[in-house]
């Protein structure tokens, strides 16, 4: 728990950096929101519940966008929640438009901005034809990169533009600035003929960016891996490569590998259980199924409102791992 870094920073900054403050603020805010209800159940219980849900990653469900994007952990949790909830849509094989994916996102986060979805769609479709249909996995991985690293990608875009237009964005910082400029010349000439920018130069800039970037960045080693495979690349080419790189996906830790994307046995089991109820719901009168549903849930909630969640153990294992990884990648 007490990592050596902790001593390097004043306590307050440390807490802020690890987003503890964010969660504390939010917890108090939530408490304030539902003062009456929560005080009935006990404040201590509430805080336990709150921080448990943060650990499990369920705290972001139906929250406002500003909160969802506030911390890397929240972002990872949201990605995971999105995958879990709409995996079935992908499993069904439906190809959807950007707008429809956006609607699905909005089901989880009512004020999710369209802009982010649009950008993610652009990664998949490589252009502005955002009305095209996309597969669930394509969209999900592109969206993951775009959403989790959105600030990083913005900076990358700026760097890329600078490189394209011939400026060296890192002139001040890169020690071998003269050589960088020297190499810049032919790159500019080629840029007009070839598309994109030279990979190695681009990597230098990115490495630099990662060093000083205060938001989360993909691990530089993996970025290097992505860029080492090609000579030149375009911005969207880079993003596509990022989104398809399973190492980055692993480092991010929110989603399973592409191969396992449709695989979630626990949820499938749950779904089967739900499906069994459906025919009954149609055949018999609705009231009966509702009636059966009503007593089973409501009284239990009244009796032990803060009963532990069924899946806490399983989710704990998974999301704990992801949180740790996230934290690492963040540094």
């Amino acid at each position: 728990m007490l990592s050596p870094e902790r001593l390097a920073l004043p306590d307050y900054e440390y807490l802020a950096q690890r987003h503890v403050l964010t969660y504390m603020e939010d917890a108090v805010c939530q408490l304030l929101e539902n003062k009456e209800d929560i005080s009935q159940y006990g404040i201590a219980r509430f805080f336990t519940e709150y921080f448990n849900s943060v650990c499990q990653g369920t705290h972001i469900l139906f929250r406002e966008f500003s909160f969802i994007q506030a911390t890397p952990h929240n972002r990872a949790s949201f990605l995971r929640a999105f995958w879990r909830c709409f995996r079935t849509v992908g499993k069904n094989g439906d190809l959807l438009t950007m707008k429809e994916y956006h609607c699905l996102l909005q089901l989880l986060c009512p004020d999710f901005p369209l802009e982010l979805t649009q950008k993610a769609a652009r990664i998949v479709l490589m252009d502005d034809a955002t009305d095209c249909l996309m597969s669930f996995s394509d969209f999900l991985f592109a969206f993951q990169i775009q959403f989790y690293y959105s600030e990083f990608l913005e900076s990358v875009a700026a760097i890329y533009q600078d490189l394209l237009s011939g400026k060296n964005p890192n002139t001040v910082i890169v020690p071998t600035s003269s050589s960088g400029q020297h190499r810049q010349r032919p790159a500019l000439g080629e840029a007009s003929m070839l598309e994109g920018v030279e990979a190695s130069l681009f990597y230098q800039c990115l490495e630099n960016l990662c060093d000083r970037h205060k938001y989360s960045c993909p691990p530089p080693a993996l970025v290097k891996e992505v860029l080492s495979n090609v000579q030149r690349l375009t911005f969207y080419g880079f993003l596509v490569a990022l989104s398809k790189h399973h190492g980055i996906n692993q480092a991010l830790g929110a989603l399973p590998d592409k191969g396992d994307l449709m695989h979630d046995p626990a949820m499938d089991e749950e779904l089967e259980r739900l499906l069994v109820q459906v025919p009954g719901l149609v055949n018999s009168v609705t009231a009966s199924s509702e009636a059966s549903c009503l007593p089973s849930r409501t009284p239990s909630r009244v009796a032990s409102p803060w009963r532990p969640l069924h899946h806490s153990r399983k989710v704990d294992v998974e999301s704990d791992g992801s949180t740790e990884e996230t934290d690492e990648s963040e540094t």
Partner: protein
């Protein structure tokens, strides 16, 4: 059938042969059975025992199936023989037997076995006497035969001459017969009327069935009363200027296209123009005595001037081309007309035919040869009244429809504007909003509503109910049509605040929204639930349904069986998943139809398969504090909307609140999937922002305090071991010299005392 009738009547005619030349017209349909007896002239009595009965029109027309008996309707008195009998037998010829002459009636073409045969003079070289009495001698002019009769003949039938079926191609010169009053040229081949100008006392001229092409040579026959020119080739009515005393004019079976040159015939009683080529009827001025006008079998499509015939009683328009009453409307203005026929016209096929005619022509006694009964007349007037009402109603309705159309157009225009404006200048729209409610309610509750009961007063009760509550204003439209409540424009939502009658509210099962933002609709859904508890079918068109989560809002309703989302103005319908999402989210309604398509079990399963996990996650993984907050919001929201209409009794609120609680309980695992309108959501975020700010400061202070304490604590922890050592050392040093320490201690004790 008709010929039979004629025959029977004709038998009577034989008995009446000596009645003299008079025409009896009986309008048997009159209840009082008044006979109009018309003597052709006083001097007919000068032919005692001689009867010339003629009925011009039916005379010939009967043969052609055209004959319509003037008076003898089936129930008519058979005593009125007059009409049908037609004795073409003329005096000059022997009436051998009654039958022979009678057979001439009704079919005048039947050969009368007259003994006198007139041969065409041109064929016989000499005076070829064909009969005993008549010699037809070719004159000096080679073309005209000269007719001469024997003196006995002349004496016997001094005033009549029959030259029937003599194969004449021209009129013979008739010499020394100035006293002739009756001349018959039936069934010859005469092409031109000539050589009779000297017969100035002629009263009756029969040229039926010849080949005359033009009316001519009659100018001197000033006393002519009956002119029969049926079945000829006349194209034009002309040269009748001097025949001022003409009583009967028969021109049936010709090729006349136009009624003309008859306005001077002020004594004409009967005019037969059947089987001509008339396309319309006019130019009837001046025929002041006309009582009967036969226009059967023409191509008449409209009739004018009939109201200028003061004596017209019978008008026959059968088998023409009249298709609407407007084309014959002048008939309504004729006060004398009592008998009319329209059979064989398009108009007679119409369902409204009879009562329209009867209603417009109150004076009518007979229509299509049937007596008009009082009952029929009453029926006609009732029907006509109804028709009139219907017309007025439909007019009113079409007015309303037009008004409705205009309003909808207007609303649509506003909507389009708004849609653009929302994107561009949202502030402008915001500014506009407070204005419109202040303007709109006035027309809604003021003029339109109050004006309505008055307007709808005379209408059917069914229509009133159909139109009830239809309020048209420029900016929105509310309409109740049967079981459908249609709302156009956002202003229309205010109508839900109105006091709807229990009946109307109960009847409405379909509610349709057009040109209204869905977010605005969401806000009135609780009201809708209360005011129209039976609404089962919701229709949305041009309501800006964009996202799936908007459907969440519908879950709060009591029940929905059908949902229709028009693709127009609702982009959400383009999504592949929308139907399944609706089914999933509104599964507690077990909906029957979505956009007109039956919901199948497979659909339900698919919906569950796609979104079941979402519900599961939302229900089982949502932290309880979030659950409370979300459900609490929903409850609060409903409270807020319920509290909006002021003056509500508290009892209702609590009741409804229970209801909403129940509803929420019904689908716990989906209840968390709810929809807050954008405005409301932003409002909430704004509210939360304040709290957040406070929390931030609070936490900041707390953490700062905590870190400070922690720092002090840590500093203390750091110092503590050294301090402890120092303390121990001091203590040890102090007690090193035991004796002196003891002394010191004792000293202290004594000092204390």
């Amino acid at each position: 059938m008709i010929p039979g009738k004629y025959r029977s009547v004709s038998g009577r005619a034989a008995n009446n042969v000596n009645c003299g030349l008079h025409l009896v017209i009986q309008t048997s349909s009159l209840p009082e059975k008044n006979k109009v007896e018309f003597k052709l002239s006083k001097d007919t009595s000068s032919f005692p025992g001689r009867l010339l009965q003629h009925d011009l029109e039916r005379n010939y027309s009967s043969r052609q199936g055209d004959g319509r008996v003037l008076s003898p309707s089936p129930g008519s008195k058979s005593s009125c023989i007059s009409t049908t009998t037609n004795v073409t037998e003329l005096c000059g010829l022997e009436m051998k037997t009654a039958t022979s002459s009678l057979s001439a009636f009704g079919d005048s073409s039947i050969q009368t076995p007259s003994k006198s045969r007139i041969r065409q003079g041109c064929h016989s070289a000499g005076p070829n006497v064909s009969g005993d009495h008549v010699n037809l001698v070719s004159s000096s002019m080679p073309s005209f035969p000269i007719l001469q009769r024997s003196s006995e003949e002349k004496i016997l039938y001094s005033d009549r001459l029959t030259l029937e079926r003599q194969k004449l191609t021209v009129c013979p010169i008739i010499d020394g017969e100035e006293h002739l009053r009756l001349l018959n040229f039936q069934h010859n081949f005469i092409t031109r009327i000539q050589n009779i100008s000297n017969l100035q006392r002629l009263i009756f001229l029969d040229l039926y069935d010849n080949q005359i092409e033009e009316i001519s040579g009659l100018s001197t026959l000033r006393s002519l009363r009956v002119l029969l020119l049926g079945k000829n080739r006349i194209r034009k009515i002309s040269n009748l200027e001097n025949l001022k005393s003409l009583d009967v004019l028969d021109l049936h079976g010709n090729q006349i296209t136009k009624i003309e040159n008859v306005s001077h015939l002020c004594d004409l009683r009967v005019l037969n123009l059947a089987r001509n080529l008339l396309s319309h009827v006019d130019n009837l001025n001046g025929l002041d005595s006309l009582t009967e006008l036969n226009l059967r079998h023409n191509q008449i499509s409209f009739v004018r001037d009939v109201d200028n015939l003061p004596c017209l009683q019978r008008l026959f328009l059968s088998f023409n081309n009249i298709s609407s009453f407007e084309n014959v409307s002048c008939l309504a203005d004729s006060s004398s007309l009592s008998d009319i026929t329209f059979d064989g016209n398009p108009i007679a096929q119409e369902s409204w035919y009879k009562h329209t005619i009867l209603q417009n022509m109150m004076q009518l006694r007979q229509l299509d040869m049937k007596r008009v009964t009082e009952e029929e007349r009453r029926m006609a007037s009732v029907v006509a009244k109804k028709e009139e009402e219907k017309k007025r109603e439909s007019h009113k309705q079409s007015l309303l429809k037009e008004k409705k159309r205009l309003t909808i157009n207007n609303v649509a225009r506003k909507w389009d504007l708004q849609q653009n404006r929302v994107a561009n200048i949202p502030t402008n729209q915001d500014r506009k909003d407070p204005d419109s409610p202040s303007q709109d309610p006035c027309p809604v509750n003021g003029s339109t509503i109050s004006a309505f009961p008055e307007e709808t007063g005379p209408l059917d009760s069914g229509l009133i109910s159909a139109l009830q509550g239809l309020s048209v204003t420029d900016t929105h439209l509310v309409e109740v049509d049967g079981d459908t409540l249609s709302l156009y424009g956002s202003g229309a939502l205010e109508s839900l605040d109105r006091n709807w009658s229990v009946q109307t509210a109960g009847m409405v099962t379909t509610v349709s929204f057009t040109f209204i933002e869905f977010d605005e609709i969401v806000q009135v859904l609780p009201k809708l639930k209360i005011k129209f508890p039976n609404s089962l079918h919701l229709k949305f068109k041009e309501t800006n349904l964009v996202t799936l989560q908007q459907f969440n809002a519908l879950a709060q309703l009591r029940r929905i069986d059908q949902l229709t989302i028009d693709p127009q103005g609702n982009p959400v319908v383009n999504f592949t998943l929308w139907k399944y999402y609706v089914l999933f989210r509104l599964s507690h309604f077990s909906m029957q139809k979505i956009n007109g398509t039956e919901v199948t079990q497979n659909d339900m399963i698919m919906a569950e398969r796609l979104f079941g996990i979402l519900a599961h996650v939302a229900s089982s993984e949502l932290p309880q504090y979030r659950m409370i907050s979300i459900l609490g919001d929903a409850r609060k929201k409903q409270f807020q909307y319920l509290l909006e209409p002021k003056g509500k009794k508290p009892g209702i609120i609590s009741e409804e609140n229970n209801d909403s609680k129940r509803l929420v309980g019904e689908n716990t695992n989906r209840a968390t999937l709810n929809y807050t309108t954008r405005d409301f959501y932003n409002e909430k975020l704004e509210e939360v922002k304040e709290k957040k700010k406070f929390c931030k400061m609070y936490i900041e202070d707390l953490v700062k305090e905590a870190t400070e304490i922690n720092m002090k604590n840590e500093a203390l922890q750091k110092l503590w071991p050294q301090m402890f050592i120092e303390l121990v050392r001091d203590a040890v040093i102090e007690i090193r010299n035991k004796n002196s320490y003891m002394k010191l201690c004792l000293q202290q004790i004594t000092d204390q005392k």
